[in-house]
């Protein structure tokens, strides 16, 4: 075990995977200087054939990822801010997500798309979205939302070695968070949620970076005698519904914490699955703690209260337990 900053865990995983397999290539805007620090040093180490700064042309970049992967490479596409996924969405939604089915399974598509997501830092409406609900709805796209340095490393390595398109979304501004990363070749399978805290009164499911405020909420609840179980999804596609269902079977109560806008959020999907498949285990309605259906404003005093925080999470949970 070594303690690492989250962004360092990502950088190390990228380095190790490019070292391990020479058919892994990486391209994107400013990957050389690396705005977030995740791709820093890769161009020097692996050279301009395998690591390329690109023009700003997301519509072509997402198409290129499909074409280069179809032609036999393992592609890592860095799209910087996840709002730029929308700019490149045609080839994501119409090609990447569908080409395997459209061609009768002739090819695998080993593509990993990295992008930073989420608000809370006055980056305003066009640099703070959480596009995973749209990605989840496409079908042929995996979505990883790691929240710890260990998962950041393990999920990224799995995505790169995998044979399906995977969006690997980094929570913006959380790169400095530190945590233990197992030594050696640490791989984390997609579709395995983590139970971050055990408790029998209420299940709190967190998406991505919502894990920390959710854990803080759980500690606050414990002070009031309510024991919450905290489940970190780790990946949204595939989604580990079994772990969530098993927890709800024990607690009878579910709160889903998601920093996507409420309508058709990941939280909405999880709530629907539990309502359909675990209805008889529920002792109270499912609650979602999300962002209202509002674009992220700039002013910090307006932006901050829109995001889920420990107080809102704890209040939602306490309401269910006291009901």
């Amino acid at each position: 075990m070594a303690k690492k900053r989250l962004i360092q865990a990502i950088n190390d995983a990228l380095t190790e995977e490019m070292e391990r397999d020479e058919r892994v290539i990486l391209f994107g805007e400013d990957v050389e200087i690396s705005m977030f620090g995740d791709t820093v040093g890769l161009l020097d180490r692996f050279g301009p054939d395998r690591v390329r700064n690109t023009p700003i042309c997301e519509a072509t970049l997402s198409g290129m990822a499909v074409g280069a992967a179809a032609a036999g490479y393992r592609v890592i596409l860095h799209m910087m801010f996840s709002n730029f996924i929308y700019t490149g969405f045609d080839a994501i939604a119409n090609q990447m997500a569908k080409i395997r089915l459209m061609t009768g399974g002739q090819i695998m598509l080993p593509v990993t798309v990295i992008a930073g997501y989420g608000g809370g830092r006055s980056t305003a409406a066009q640099h703070s979205d959480t596009p995973y609900p749209a990605l989840m709805n496409l079908g042929g796209i995996n979505v990883a939302v790691p929240s710890t340095p260990a998962d950041a490393a393990g999920l990224l390595k799995t995505a790169i070695r995998g044979n399906n398109p995977t969006f690997y979304l980094e929570a913006g501004g959380r790169g400095g968070q530190r945590g233990e990363v197992p030594d050696g070749d640490h791989l984390m399978p997609l579709g395995q949620a983590a139970i971050r805290r055990s408790g029998g009164d209420v299940t709190l499911v967190s998406v991505g970076a919502m894990m920390r405020p959710t854990l803080r909420a759980a500690r606050a609840l414990a002070a009031d005698g309510i024991e919450a179980e905290v489940i970190d999804c780790r990946t949204l596609v595939p989604l580990d519904t079994e772990t969530i269902k098993a927890s709800v079977a024990r607690t009878g109560r579910l709160v889903v914490v998601d920093e996507a806008r409420d309508r058709c959020s990941a939280a909405s999907h999880i709530a629907a699955v539990i309502a359909e498949e675990s209805f008889h285990d529920l002792r109270a309605p499912v609650r979602r703690v999300t962002v209202p259906n509002i674009a992220m404003p700039y002013a910090p005093n307006v932006e901050k209260p829109l995001l889920p925080n420990p107080e809102r999470i704890a209040e939602a949970a306490a309401t269910l337990v006291q009901a």
Binding site: T60, G63, G72, D90, G104, G105
Partner: protein, 330 residues
């Protein structure tokens, strides 16, 4: 760029054979569509055969092509199997895409056919990616993008030229100017000459009569050679004409017309197959009887392929479960 050579006798005959095969397949699909035998629509390539045949004549199995919604001709010219293509268009499990893609998505990766594409301009970025892969492989492969004058108005066209020229990718851009963006005549939606656009990126641009198979063959020879030698992208504008509708079904649901029949008749007089046949006969490369024999052989091939398609089973509804992801539930 100047052509590297003229076609040999065998190459002339291959060119004609490919064009005839495309024509006969498309005519049969036209008939089968109107007879209600096809589950979906078709966008026919009739009248444009010289472009696919003239370009693909220079390509190997490991060269890549990406194509358009009007993609049957490119598929066949690149060596795709007519049986597997027609079975696909019939929605059968023996189809090249197991019946999952249909007419707009015929693809055969084993022959470098990345696929037709239902999105206008959708193949452009993909071809740039394949060209990047080809450059990294460093084995002289090229990636060819077929697209129309409609797609030339998509932003990805400019992006692709920029990346391709910047990185000197082995990318060949073939714009088939067939006169229409779906139902809009080109001049109502396109400013300037599309062939001027590549020059802004220092990409060599050649304009040819797209109904003159030999002119296309020669222009493509130079463009493909340019890419193979590592000199970067090139562009060919082949002016041709879509003698059929955007979609073969449009006669049943379109509220009006968007062109005069006289325009179609004019272009029929410039039919690329009749034109190449005439040239080959004039140059004593073959006789009309020999062309007739070639045509009969092709008609037999088409008949066999259609019989195969019709006799084939439909895919199992469960087949989709394995196709969204590799080795993962959908």
């Amino acid at each position: 760029m100047t052509p590297t050579s003229a076609p040999s006798t065998e190459e002339f005959l291959d060119l004609l054979r490919t064009m005839l095969l495309i024509r006969r397949v498309e005519e049969r699909l036209r008939d089968d569509f109107h007879a209600g035998k096809l589950p979906g629509g078709v966008h026919l390539y009739i009248g444009q055969e010289a472009v696919a045949a003239g370009v693909c004549a220079h390509l190997n199995d490991d060269d890549w092509i990406a194509s358009t919604h009007r993609g049957h001709g490119h598929f066949l010219a690149k060596g795709g199997d007519p049986k597997a293509m027609i079975a696909e268009i019939h929605g059968k499990e023996t189809g090249i895409c197991r019946g999952m893609g249909g007419s707009m998505h015929v693809a055969d990766f084993s022959r470098g056919i990345i696929g037709a594409n239902g999105i206008v301009g959708g193949g452009v970025g993909i071809t740039v990616g394949a060209a990047l892969a080809a450059q990294l492989e460093n084995k002289g492969q090229v990636a060819v993008c077929f697209f129309g004058d409609g797609a030339a108005n998509q932003g990805v066209f400019m992006e692709a030229m920029n990346v391709g020229a910047l990185w000197k990718l082995p990318l060949v851009l073939i714009c088939e100017h067939n006169g229409f963006s779906e139902f809009s005549p080109s001049d109502t939606v396109t400013a300037g000459d599309i062939a001027d656009r590549p020059e802004a990126f220092d990409i060599p641009s050649t304009s040819v009569d797209g109904n003159d198979a030999i002119a296309v063959w020669e222009a493509a020879s130079a463009a493909v050679d340019h890419a193979r030698r590592g000199n970067g992208p090139s562009f060919v504008l082949a002016t041709t004409y879509r003698t059929h509708g955007h979609n073969e079904g449009e006669v049943y649901w379109l509220s009006g017309t968007y062109r005069d029949n006289s325009e179609i008749e004019d272009w029929n007089r410039r039919d690329p197959i009749e034109r190449l046949t005439r040239t080959l006969v004039e140059r004593d490369i073959c006789t009309l009887d020999e062309v007739g024999a070639m045509d009969r052989e092709i008609l037999d091939t088409v008949e066999d392929a259609c019989a195969f398609a019709e006799a084939s089973a439909v895919p199992s509804p469960d087949a989709v479960q394995d196709l969204m992801f590799f080795n993962q539930a959908p």
